[in-house]
């Protein structure tokens, strides 16, 4: 059977691949959305932090023989801690200034971090093997699905919805949301708002590192792996609505699927399609699909 000249089997497999890429977009844009929503900082270092996650996993395995599962927890913690230090020593001073200052600072940091990694490890990148338990694949009839890719989807979605639940449905999340709406009053109620904000930035950064560890066995671990991805992820956040948690998750997955379909019907446009959608969304709904105008 064929749809528009494309066999359905091929279409099915492309949609599945789109879903996998969408999971990466979702988890990265979620981190950005949280940081922007609660701190008003446009975190341009997100791609570099994603790359750090992947590199820490690779270093842990090759230098210290620390396996994938430990790295999946440890790398986000380490990079999150790095985020906390950044927030305490630098970002904190910029909250009262225009968005642009935060953007410039994080952009500069990203360049410095990538430069250091490039100097240390070169540009060709390093290979990270798929962990033993997740290697191999399943024949689905219409395609061969690598088990690791299926795991990426499951892990990413679990973390995304866990995060959404924490922010929207728990008391801690309520403090966070209230703290951004009106920090003075929340502070007056005896809640340590600066600590909450530090925690939030650390968490957003840890999400990027988590995505980095997930990506390590799929892509070459390379100092520029984040900067190639980050622009698309920013577009995802803009389409979803800056700062909208659920918006970033749904849009991330949706755009992964759209991109997958573009690769079937007109592959040359697959790098552009996300930005075309961004332009249309900005014209029709400037606050984004899920944003509040």
């Amino acid at each position: 059977m064929e749809i528009l000249g494309v066999p359905t089997a091929l279409l099915g497999s492309q949609l599945l691949v789109g879903l996998i890429n969408g999971s990466f977009y979702a988890i990265l844009s979620l981190g950005l959305a949280i940081i922007f929503g609660l701190l008003n900082i446009i975190n341009f270092a997100h791609g570099a932090q994603y790359m750090m996650g992947a590199f820490i996993a690779w270093l842990a395995l090759t230098r210290f023989e620390i396996n994938y599962w430990v790295a999946l927890i440890a790398a986000p913690l380490l990079v999150g801690l790095f985020g906390v230090i950044l927030e305490r020593t630098m970002l904190r001073k910029l909250y009262k200034l225009d968005h642009l200052y935060g953007l410039l600072l994080t952009f500069g940091l990203a360049l410095i971090i990538e430069g250091i990694f490039r100097d240390q490890f070169g540009i060709s990148g390093e290979s990270y093997e798929v962990p033993e338990a997740l290697s191999g694949g399943i024949h689905l009839g219409f395609m061969f699905l690598p088990i690791y890719r299926a795991w990426v989807v499951v892990a990413a979605l679990t973390v995304c919805f866990g995060t959404w639940f924490m922010i929207e449905k728990t008391k801690l999340g309520a403090y966070l949301r209230a703290g951004t709406e009106n920090p003075q009053i929340v502070q007056a109620l005896g809640i340590n708002v600066p600590l909450l904000i530090t925690f939030t930035y650390g968490y957003g950064v840890a999400l990027a590192a988590f995505a980095g560890v997930l990506a390590a066995p799929v892509f070459q671990v390379n100092p520029l792996m984040g900067s190639n991805l980050i622009i698309v992820v920013f577009a995802v956040v803009v389409i979803g609505g800056m700062g909208s948690i659920l918006g970033s998750i749904v849009t991330g997955i949706g755009l992964g699927l759209v991109e997958g379909l573009t690769k079937v019907f007109y592959p040359e446009a697959s790098a552009v399609v996300v930005f075309v959608i961004m332009v249309i969304v900005l014209l029709v709904r400037p606050a984004g699909l899920f944003g509040k105008a």
Binding site: Q14, V17, I20, G122, I123, P146, R149, L224, M225
Partner: protein
Amino acid sequence: MTIKKAVSIACTAALATLSAGAHAQISGGVVKIGVLTDLSGTYSDLAGSGAVLATKMAIDDFIAKEKPDFKIEMVSADHQNKADIASNKAREWFEREGVDTATELVTTSVALAVMKIAKEKDRIALMSGPASTPITNEQCNDVTVHYTYDTYALANGTAKAVTKQGGKNWFFLTADYAFGQALEKDASAVVTANGGKVLGSVRHPFPGSDFSSFLLKAQASGAQVIGLANAGADTTNAIKQAAEFGITPTQALAGLLMFITDIHSLGLKTTQGMYLTEGFYWDLNEETRAWSKRFFGVQKKMPTMVQAGQYSSVYHYLKAVKAAGSDDTKKVMTQMKKMPINDFFAKNGQIREDGRMVHDMYLMQVKKPAESKYPWDYYNVRQVIPAAEAFQPLSQSRCPLVKK
């Protein structure tokens, strides 16, 4: 200052210049070599700081061995793979800093831009890094030497070998820009000429990171061979993901432009059995090993063909300057074309009238992990492709300098 005094200073200066030029007619008394390369981007591992090191080694070795009566200096700059940055730098070097030759020049767009400026300013462009054939065809000029390899030689080596060994049906995964398309075109021609068939191709945006969609298309085509007409991170990611999706080893991959640094970064487990064409391999013989180990001592990586070619081209240039007794572009170019190249990199290498340096190329097959006995032991040499067959014959040349 009195007129008399000014005249005497001018005379002294003129005398000083004359005496400096008594041995050889070297402008400014110094031969200045500019290394214009990618020091920070995609190609910085295969060229980059390794190319700068190779140039330094060539200059040091030349001074020690040939004891020239002129001074040699080197400058280097990062062109960031951007033609406009490269053009500005080259202009500055030629006009204000007295640079005699711009070398390395990886990335086709950079190479094409700089060779035009070299022609305009009457200086020499020595190209070790770039790959595209237009450099010695449509765009050729008489101040350019294309030294190490080109897309014709790569396609001719790899595509021919794979097709002849039974890989008749091909599908191309092509980077969607001039270089990728040129490589696909050259390789397709070789495949058809050797009795193979091209079933289709898919153009992916450059640079890409996820190739699974494109690979699934290639898989669905049922082709025996998937030709990778891309380079750098695009190639390594595609190879890695092909293994992940179970495409290899059912279908074979042919990397049309790969360097030893790519194999090193991917590891033998993923790349074993692949064919590729190289202009140089560190472990060919005593001579290549000796040089490469010196290189490794500083760089901590074995040299790529671009870096080895860079050494050889700079050394050959300096020899030509010495033999010509001048750094005048025309004289040096004539001398370079006259002298054969015999060093660890090339045996009986010859620079043709179109600027193409022809030398033996090597068809390599990547070793299995068990076959690799020591670090960087990556290739089995499957075939030495003689210089006469490796490169585009002059009879097919589209370069106006070639008299037919």
